[in-house]
Point group: C2
Chain length 467, copies 2
């Protein structure tokens, strides 16, 4: 760890792992941010103490309230501030007096509203800086930090996992995390960074680079204020873990929109693309794709080379997965005669020769897929595997169910056993079934469409190249 | 209607709208195709008569069974055949004697297995042709025809709508329809065409081109046997309704896979691309994208030009939707000062100037989006609108709910009122809420991600250009 790393880790620890929070602007009115900032941490099982601050009410959401942060009898690590912008400078001064270590500024009405708001924001930055408080925001939606189970950003509690997501857009960020959460992906942390008046995207990636709970970082960026420093830090981080980026404002009209949204100069997309390439940042061009790739990177080993085996009971799935791999620079190489002969005994007589892709021809036996994938994982010519799960839908036959579970267990062990990534695609629209549940629990990423699976595998291969 | 149209409509009517079906190979064993071919039509509410044919059992699934198709006392329009390949020629002869008009050959073991199977297939073609029977298959998964509610292909009954889907892959076709069905899209018909020994992709599009219930045709193609005739018919059909295509086998390894899957020569992708362009076929490159576009084309009017207005309560949604439009050649033009002044009174004071995209800045009032979209629809500089729905999540306040419903009603009327397409994007991961339900019921397509909405709008614009 460099001295810069150590400094940022120390400074941001009260943001990510506060032992106590004060909610300044806490409210009993259920449709207000000041209410959610208290009820959401309670609901997510926040591990520290919560001190609501409200000048009138004695209690907020059942917790004793204080009329001022200075009245709180215990130390406060993190202040979460949701009061009108004009009142923020005085409150920040009080936080300094109290010895608060970090703050999340939810309040809007700063630089995003024009020169007057910018002056107010500069004042807040000065007070905080002189008082030794680092802060996130203003004009953001807050945080999810799984290590202390602190949620201020979502109306639900996110699933825990290795993905940390830093978003320059609050609503879009929250939306993306919600859709990814619905797919079963788990998050170490989420930050809605707002105006980045003090702490910037660069600071967050530096912190997350050294954060043990974070295995992959996803960024939604509309514009970078410190491109050069970002590039330098990103390079350092990427030695330890992957960074995946989606960039808003890549067209002329889109840039106009980023200007009025986050006052970001989107900049030339060619320059951004070159920067990603130089730093080894994995860039995605559809806003939802980053999470499919992050899920695989958070759970699977990296392939040595780009040679993928594709296994499915559906011929069409074989065709489309193979095409999707090819379009992303992944090879689905034709297998040699010896391997084909070794695989053939496991297949039904009418199945086509298993040259890769391997079409199981609607084989209903759960162990077929496990046997085939295991042999492929042992083959030195194959670096990675995309497979269907053993069929398990609507069967109530105990022997069959037992076989499905055995096959799913064998498949789940393959990445650890052979050090090769395994990714699964669904054969039914609902992705239900016991095999799916078991494999997902044990870290095998599942995708609805062949293109998603291929993209996830591409992410693994890309990071293997960079790393 | 040309004479060719009339001929094909007459010949394929017994396939799409049979008054009676015989299931040859009907079975009481619940894990067999011969069982599903009887139970599925019963389950989907097939409007005609079902005659199971089984040499041993007196009844199948509660219906009287016949030992031979010739024993059925009433006329049979359509024979669904699921017996071993070797027995098909004799059975086809019996169907000819019985006066059966069309057949669906589920049985596999024909041309896809090699020269011997090909010879058997040729024999069946000859018998059917001489006997005046047109047939689908062999080696397919059957049909969904909503006009008579005949389902043989799915374990569920598809939703009814204007999309007709013809698939060269059975498993992939069924999978895609299932996922689209789960999104709420409705289907007029589905055909798993199998080996296309008699009826081909070209015949089906010619029939569907004149079919009143079909408003848009989606094709999954691995290879075309009669490219020239297909191109000619596609051109004729596209004058009446759009055709959207996904093509499997576009890479070298993918082509190898189509050869072993459907014995299709995938052909040069450049040639296929040029053909699509020439004919006005809308081509999609991700296998799931075709249905998102088809849904919009089945329900929305076409835009006059490419000028899109984007409305959302989230700034990030505005940015990403605008970028996604731009990437597909859709313009999100900056609005003139007069329009901006007309829109401003409807927005919150802190919202950015409504220059397009229009960021409602988290406005919680349901009528804001309705008022803004209505004004935009009246504007001659705007051809189409992508909007969020009025916010309706988790509100139990009756006044608010009434307002949400009113706003949703106003929005739903806009396409009919102003002849401009309206497409909605979700702001929450589950797309729930009363506004969503109401608008979807009234024909407003909803998409989970900005890129999907932009793609659907692109489909409308593309067909408007071709049409």
């Amino acid at each position: 760890m460099t001295s810069s790393n150590k400094k940022i880790t120390q400074e941001l620890k009260p943001l990510f792992e506060p032992e106590s929070i004060a909610v300044i602007g806490a409210s009993n009115s259920p449709a207000k941010w000041g209410n959610w900032m208290v009820t959401r941490p309670i609901g997510s099982g926040y591990r520290g103490r919560i001190y609501p601050v409200n000048p009138r009410d004695k209690e907020v959401a059942g917790l004793k309230a204080y009329s001022n942060v200075l009245e709180i009898p215990e130390p406060v690590d993190l202040a979460i501030i949701t009061i009108p912008a004009s009142m923020v400078p005085d409150t920040m001064r009080e936080c300094v007096s109290k010895g608060v270590k970090a703050a999340v500024l939810i309040s809007a009405g700063f630089a995003e509203t024009g020169p007057k708001g910018k002056a107010l924001q500069d004042e807040v930055v000065k007070i905080a800086m002189e008082g030794g408080i680092r802060f996130m925001g203003p004009n953001g939606m807050g945080i999810w930090s799984s290590s202390v189970r602190l949620n201020t950003a979502f109306w639900f509690t996110p699933k825990t996992g290795g993905i940390s997501f830093v978003s320059q857009s609050g609503t879009m960020g929250a939306y993306l995390l919600e859709t990814a959460n619905n797919k079963g992906y788990g998050f170490n942390s989420f930050l809605s960074v707002g105006n980045q008046a003090d702490l910037s995207m660069t600071d967050y990636i530096e912190y997350l680079g050294s954060d043990e709970g974070t295995s992959v970082i996803v960024l939604y960026i509309e514009g970078l204020k410190d491109g050069k420093r970002f590039l330098q830090k990103a390079r350092e981080v990427i030695k330890k873990k992957p960074i995946i980026v989606f960039k808003g404002g890549i067209t002329e009209n889109g840039s106009r929109a980023t200007m009025s949204h986050t006052a970001s100069i989107a900049g030339s997309d060619d320059v951004f693309e070159a920067m990603c390439h130089q730093a080894g940042i994995i860039r995605m061009y559809d806003v939802s794709h980053a999470f499919d790739v992050a899920e695989a990177l958070s759970k699977q080993p990296l392939p040595r080379r780009n040679r993928v085996a594709v296994v499915s009971a559906g011929g069409g799935h074989c065709v489309v997965t193979t095409d999707a791999c090819g379009a992303l620079g992944l090879d689905v190489p034709e297998l040699d005669d010896e391997t084909v002969r070794a695989l053939e005994p496991y297949l039904l007589p009418h199945a086509p020769p298993p040259k890769n892709p391997i079409d199981l021809a609607a084989d209903p036996r759960p162990m077929t897929v496990a046997n085939i994938v295991k042999l492929l994982a042992q083959n030195p010519l194959i670096d990675a595997i995309i497979t269907m799960a053993p069929v398990s839908i609507r069967s109530t036959n105990p022997t069959h169910v037992r076989e499905v579970l055995s096959a799913a267990e064998i498949l789940s062990e393959i990445p650890r056993q052979y050090g090769k990534p395994l990714i699964a695609t669904a054969m039914r629209g609902n992705m239900e079934g016991i095999a799916f549940e078991l494999m997902r629990e044990r870290g095998i990423p599942f995708y609805e469409f062949p293109e998603e699976a291929a993209r996830a595998m591409y992410g693994l291969y890309r990071y293997a190249q960079i790393h």
